[in-house]
Amino acid sequence: MRVFVESVGLIGPGLPGWQIARPILAGIQPYAYSALNPPRVDILPAAERRRTGLPVKLAIAVGQDALAQTGRGADQLPTVFSASGGDGEVIHEICETLAGSERLVSPTRFHNSVHNAPAGYWSIATRSQAKSTSLCCRDWSFAAGLMEAAAEVATGSEAALLLCYDACYPEPLHRLRPVTEAFAAAMLLTRVRTADAASELSIESIAGQHVDSPMSDAELEALRKGNPAARALPLFAAISTGKPATVFLDYLGDGHLRIDLRAC
């Protein structure tokens, strides 16, 4: 599949948006860790904002970050949301409540427990009635989301916005599902080269070997391994340099994606 990247968005510890992250990923400035503050999501109505957890805030903020680089609006834009898990705080609270004797589940927590809660809040915030999907592919959720968003633009839509995000789980779930840091990555893909296009991607799924491009910086490499959405980092680093590159992404445990990138 061949698609164009019109813009990207990124939110992680020490990486509060693409403009700041870009020179860091390009190796021009050093990476310095700093704990991620929950992003502001002013586009969400106040009543909804109060009810949302970190995954929703990450998804909305990273989508806005990607759209801020381009003139494109969100209202007609198909979206592909992808995350390895839902809102861990909500899952923990519900499971804890259900293990007790009263079992008074909060209705707001329950509707926030659905995997597509970020997509629902995004559509409310942007008033977008465009088609949208919410995927899960465990540790391969970024690769699977990229495949889906690329297929979306390759087979019909002019553009699609990919939003990948995962937040940490509280204990006791954290031990079973150790996401180390919250992270979110977004890509605005288009079918044809637009005036804003940053790079062109050629994506191929290859069987057999387990190949994964690492980050050269040790801290960024730990971040990449610690959150499924941060598997986007090597591809984003390649985009940040503006040079041709080939990036490998582990996919489904029995293959990988080979992504050949050319700057536009």
């Binding site: 599949m1 390895s84 898990g85 839902g86 519900i94 499971c95 409540t97 259900l98 293990a99 079992r103 008074l104 589940v105 209705p107 329950f110 509707h111 926030n112 427990s113 659905v114 995997h115 597509n116 809660a117 997509a119 629902g120 809040y121 559509s123 409310i124 942007t126 008033r127 977008s128 009635q129 465009a130 088609k131 949208s132 999907t133 919410s134 995927l135 899960c136 592919c137 465990r138 959720s141 699977a144 495949m147 889906e148 690329a150 297929a151 979306e152 390759a154 087979t155 019909g156 204990e171 006791p172 779930l173 031990r175 079973l176 599902r177 799924s205 069987a207 489904l252 029995d254 293959g255």
Partner: protein
């Protein structure tokens, strides 16, 4: 379908110019299902034709819920295959029960021999996957540390991807795979993922479908929203008071239609939209639902008058049914027969899209339109041709709707591969 239809303009606008988004028909090469109606297509058809509902008062686990459920008997749920025990949970047991029906395994093996394991995709929907495993494990936390027991295998049971991972591993497939989890539209939307993957050349065939299983999260969660019916759910009834939660699985092996497939039932069109309105209530005018149905017709190259029967989402809540009816009436007028089959199966959440696509295939093949069990007195405010009794009219082309929390909508058009 004959008769006046006030919204013909839609069809005129698009029928002479092929839409670039028009779908290539994908035949239902094989189907498999399990639900409270029984296992397999014959048992499902017999329950539909014999008007036997699968609903019964809630007796699941330790739930103290004053509601009815559509449950699969525990005795029917064998542990998962011995080499796959890491996937063992109620959700994957239900999936396995369905996969073993109606020659589905043989059909997948045949497709694998023809296309190769790497060329068959697996795109499945679920809303809660194996969360029941985690719910049960929370009762067994270490009293000193709070730790969960070591036998809880989060990745291969609770995680949403567990279902697709299980099915892909069950058949030793190597193609693209993902789980869609968009609440109650999940396993309708996966038909779209498969269509896109096949159109983009990523695979030549795909297993689509979904599975959801009873758990306390949904029983108590829907209870907290006061959306559970006190008795068996009664879609479109004047006295309807909510949903009955069900469990089940439906799988379809999809392939592009070949020359010999003209009469075989196929996916002809698919439309998706978002409400952009509210997390747990539908848009009152059904605006998002109407967009999804219009997009499905467009991608099938059909007009409203071409649809003989609509299998509605029809959950039986006070607000969902009139919103969907408004959207159907706006687009189809008074004449198109429609019904919800959730009085039979209950609301199987992330599995209902696939299960109801299979019910549509049964209706086309057996030449009848299902009505609505448990519904006694139609809500007089709802102006659509809603069937209570089964109709002995063979439907040619049908639509199936699935909508979910978060305002996610999906409509499928299903009919013979060649018109």
């Amino acid at each position: 379908m004959p008769g006046a239809n006030p919204v013909r303009a839609f069809g005129r606008k698009t029928s002479h110019r092929p839409d670039p988004n028009q779908l290539q028909p994908l035949v239902f090469r094989s189907l498999a299902t399990a639900s409270s109606l029984g296992t397999g297509l014959d048992a499902t058809a017999a329950a539909l034709i014999g008007r036997r509902s699968g609903l019964a008062p809630c007796d699941f686990d330790t739930a103290r819920i004053d509601s009815w459920i559509g449950r699969i008997a525990d005795e029917a749920l064998a542990p998962v295959r011995q080499d796959l025990t890491r996937f063992d949970c109620r959700n994957n047991r239900i999936a396995q029960l369905a996969l073993r029906q109606d020659g589905f395994e043989h059909a997948v093996e045949d497709a694998r021999a023809r296309h190769g394991a790497r060329r068959i995709g697996v795109f499945l929907g679920t809303s809660t996957s194996g969360i029941l495993q985690t719910e049960l494990a929370y009762r067994r936390r270490d009293p000193a540390t709070g730790a969960l027991p070591d036998d809880l295998l989060y990745a291969t049971t609770h995680n949403n991807y567990s279902l697709a991972d299980f099915v892909r591993t069950y058949f030793a497939l190597g193609g693209p795979s993902v789980v869609v989890s968009t609440a109650c539209s999940s396993s309708a939307k996966v038909f779209g993922n498969a269509a896109r993957a096949i159109a983009a050349g990523l695979c030549d065939a795909a297993i689509v479908g979904g599975t959801d299983s009873l758990c306390l999260t949904t029983l108590y969660g829907f209870g907290s929203l006061q959306l559970l019916a006190s008795g068996p759910c009664r879609p479109f009834d004047a006295g309807r008071d909510g949903i009955s939660i069900g469990e089940g699985a439906g799988f379809v092996l999809l392939e592009p239609a070949g020359r010999a497939d003209a009469n075989r039932t196929a996916l002809l069109g698919l439309g998706e939209s978002s409400d952009a309105y509210h997390m747990s209530s539908p848009h009152p005018d059904g605006a998002g639902a109407r967009l999804a149905m219009s997009a499905a017709l467009r991608s099938a190259g059909r007009s409203p008058g071409d649809i003989d029967y609509i299998n509605l989402h029809g959950t039986g809540t006070r607000t969902n049914d009139p919103a969907e009816a408004k959207a159907v009436h706006d687009l189809f007028g008074d004449d198109t027969a429609c019904s919800s089959t959730k009085g039979w199966t209950g609301h199987t959440l992330g599995a209902c899209g696939a299960l109801e696509a299979i019910i549509c295939e049964i209706a086309i093949r057996r030449g009848f339109m299902p009505g609505s069990v448990n519904t006694r007195t139609l809500d007089p405010a709802i102006r659509v041709r809603y069937l209570i009794d089964n109709a002995q009219e063979p439907p040619h082309t049908v639509m199936s709707n699935a909508f979910g929390f978060g305002g996610t909508n999906c409509s499928l058009v299903i009919g013979p591969a060649a018109a």
